[in-house]
């Protein structure tokens, strides 16, 4: 139900590397799950509104008042790589 090409496309969207011998098994597993999920295709749901929010309230807005920020050392404390005063990463291909 989901083929090799779709698996590779989805993996790219999700930024997941897949080795060659991982592709087939995951395609099979996902297909099996999708087969079960297809059950929801049986239902007639045309005039039903989707539940986009479980809590039936609105708002919960925050007043525009500053709160304390993290000290830089704390913000950077868990960084795998630090450059100068920031998080170091390989550059995106510009």
């Amino acid at each position: 139900m989901i083929d090799r090409e779709e698996v590779l496309h989805v993996a790219q969207l999700a930024r997941l590397a897949l080795s060659e011998d991982e592709i087939e098994p995951i395609a099979r597993e996902l297909s099996a799950v999708l087969d079960h999920i297809a059950k929801i295709g049986e239902l007639s749901l045309d005039d039903v509104a989707p539940t986009s929010h479980v809590v039936e309230l609105t708002g919960a807005l925050r007043p525009d008042e500053p709160r304390p920020c993290l000290p830089r050392e704390v913000a950077l404390a868990q960084a795998p790589a630090v450059g100068g005063e920031g998080f170091l990463v390989p550059s995106p291909q510009a």
Binding site: H53, A60, R62, P66, P71, R72, G86, F87, P90, Q93
Partner: protein, 500 residues
């Protein structure tokens, strides 16, 4: 001064007579709130990197966004100012993609239920206005910072999470100049609202353009490109011009325009030598699939009466309303009213001058002409007259003197030059420079007679009906009087002395 709001395509649209450019703008405005869109970090203005962050805007595990009430308030003000329809209920969506300046791996934005829909500003219809959060900043690291063969960048999250209003227009614009002029109107409007600093150099106002061409007279739309990275008004106009030219050349040569995102580089030149080259943003991935879905961590925004009332209460007079008022109350011409109102510093100065109590009082239209014309041109593009040496009261007095015929227009211009250079009072300058008009009386009549005598041929032609020949005679009088004579009075005397 270009004709702001021309709906008909003026000649010289840059695409030749065969093609009509169709331009829409996508503007991002950083809102001038105290804190970020979804967390309580204070907004940063050039602070040291990564000193304005918290678990939310760093995207730490377990953190949750909470929307800024003031940002919503500013969004409503923008919607009201643009005459948009305000959605009774709007929701936030997640826009999912990977980039180092996007800490959560998604941007919280709005998708198919935005805060505002529709509206107009000037001659351009608005498509929508919505709220979202800004990305962080990515800067290149080090001079030759290559590690394992790859270049490195550093991410600074200070800016990440800053509230943005995104304003999208309908493709109603037809020339680069029109786009530039309209963008100035938008900027003035937003500044008048007080919702943003709208400073392109600082990045609080950003503009991308969607550009396509279609055969002149057609009403279908051609393939459009998106042009980014134009961070000044000048570059926007240049960029749009360059892209229109690029598309024209392509289509004239039988090619097709490809839908893509383009980057404008003002520092280089195009193949034809025009300043600013267009290049394709090397897209390492295909068209983004943002996988939008409603943001489950935020509740829908419902607009109630109180929020609307608050938004209306904080709105000051908008440029279009001000222009209307100036026309109505002071009987200014439409062009004058618009010219002043769409550059609020001019209108502010004008109204201050009018209220300054000069005696004799200047007529409103005359004062408007002087503010928008002679004064502006002497001060230079974009200069605020309030910053000049010409006090509003002084200009008002000057215009009053002209209206009372105490001095001629020519003399007044000389006085204005002095005011611009040194400030001061017009009456005193007229006195010290001896610029008082020569009104009626013998002095002027004698000078006119002398001029007629010295220009007998011209005088003869005028007498026989060729009014145009009066030029040299007037010129002679003006030279003699150093411009102080009133032109109308001179003409009258010439006719009188010639017996016509």
């Amino acid at each position: 001064m270009s004709d702001a709001g021309a709906a008909s395509a003026p000649a010289g649209n840059g695409a030749g007579a065969r093609w009509e450019p169709v331009i829409g703008l996508e503007i991002h405005v950083q809102l001038a709130t105290a804190t970020k869109m979804f967390c309580g970090c204070a907004l940063s203005f050039g602070e040291p990197p990564n000193t304005h962050t918290c678990p939310v805007c760093l995207g730490l595990p377990g953190s949750l966004p909470v929307a800024n009430a003031r940002a919503v308030h500013f969004g409503l003000m923008i919607g009201l100012a643009l005459g948009s329809e305000l959605a009774p209920r709007s929701i936030f969506h997640r826009k999912n993609y990977f980039y180092p300046d996007l800490p959560k791996g998604y941007q919280i934005s709005q998708y198919d239920e935005p805060l505002c829909r529709g509206g107009t500003l000037g001659e351009v219809r608005i498509h929508r206005v919505h709220l979202e959060e800004d990305a962080a900043k990515l800067v290149h690291f080090g001079e030759s910072g290559r590690i394992h063969g790859s270049e490195q960048s550093v991410v600074d999250f200070n800016r990440g999470g800053t509230p943005l209003a995104e304003i999208v227009t309908e493709p109603d614009l037809r020339t680069a100049e029109q786009a530039g002029e309209w963008l100035r109107l938008l900027r003035t409007t937003l500044r008048a609202l007080g919702v943003s600093d709208v400073n392109m150099e600082e990045g609080s106002l950003r503009c991308d353009a969607n550009i396509s061409l279609r055969p002149a007279g057609s009403d279908t739309l051609g393939v459009k490109t998106e042009l980014k990275n134009m961070n000044s008004f000048r570059f926007i106009e240049r960029g749009i011009k360059a892209e229109i030219e690029r598309q024209r050349a392509l289509l004239d040569g039988g090619g097709q325009v490809v839908q893509e995102t383009l980057h404008f580089d003002p520092t280089t030149r195009s193949a034809s030598g025009a300043p600013g080259a267009i290049s394709s943003l090397r897209s390492k991935e295909e068209a983004h699939d943002y996988r939008y879905f409603p943001e489950p961590d935020l509740l829908p925004v419902a607009i109630d009466e109180q929020m609307l009332a608050d938004a209306r209460a904080t709105m000051s007079e908008l440029p279009s309303d001000r222009a209307e008022r100036l026309r109505r109350e002071l009987s200014l011409s439409a062009e004058s009213a618009q010219l002043l109102a769409f550059r609020s510093e001019l209108a502010d100065y004008f109204e201050a001058a009018l209220a300054a109590g000069a005696d004799p009082a200047p007529p409103a239209q005359a004062l408007a002409n002087w503010v928008g014309g002679d004064l502006s041109s002497r001060l230079g593009e974009g200069e605020d007259p309030a910053d000049s040496r010409v006090q509003p009261r002084a200009l008002a007095a000057l215009v009053g003197l002209v209206a009372a015929k105490t001095i001629s227009v020519g003399a007044a211009r000389q006085v204005l030059d002095k005011l611009v250079a040194d400030g001061g009072e017009p009456a005193a300058i007229v006195e010290s420079e001896g610029l008082a008009a020569i009104g009626g009386g013998d002095e002027l009549a004698a000078i006119v007679a002398a001029a007629l005598a010295a220009n007998a041929d011209a005088a003869e032609r005028v007498r026989s009906g060729n009014e145009k020949a009066i030029g040299p005679i007037i010129g002679a009088v003006m030279r003699e009087t150093k411009g102080r004579a009133d032109g109308g009075e001179v003409t009258r005397l010439v006719h009188e002395q010639l017996g016509i």
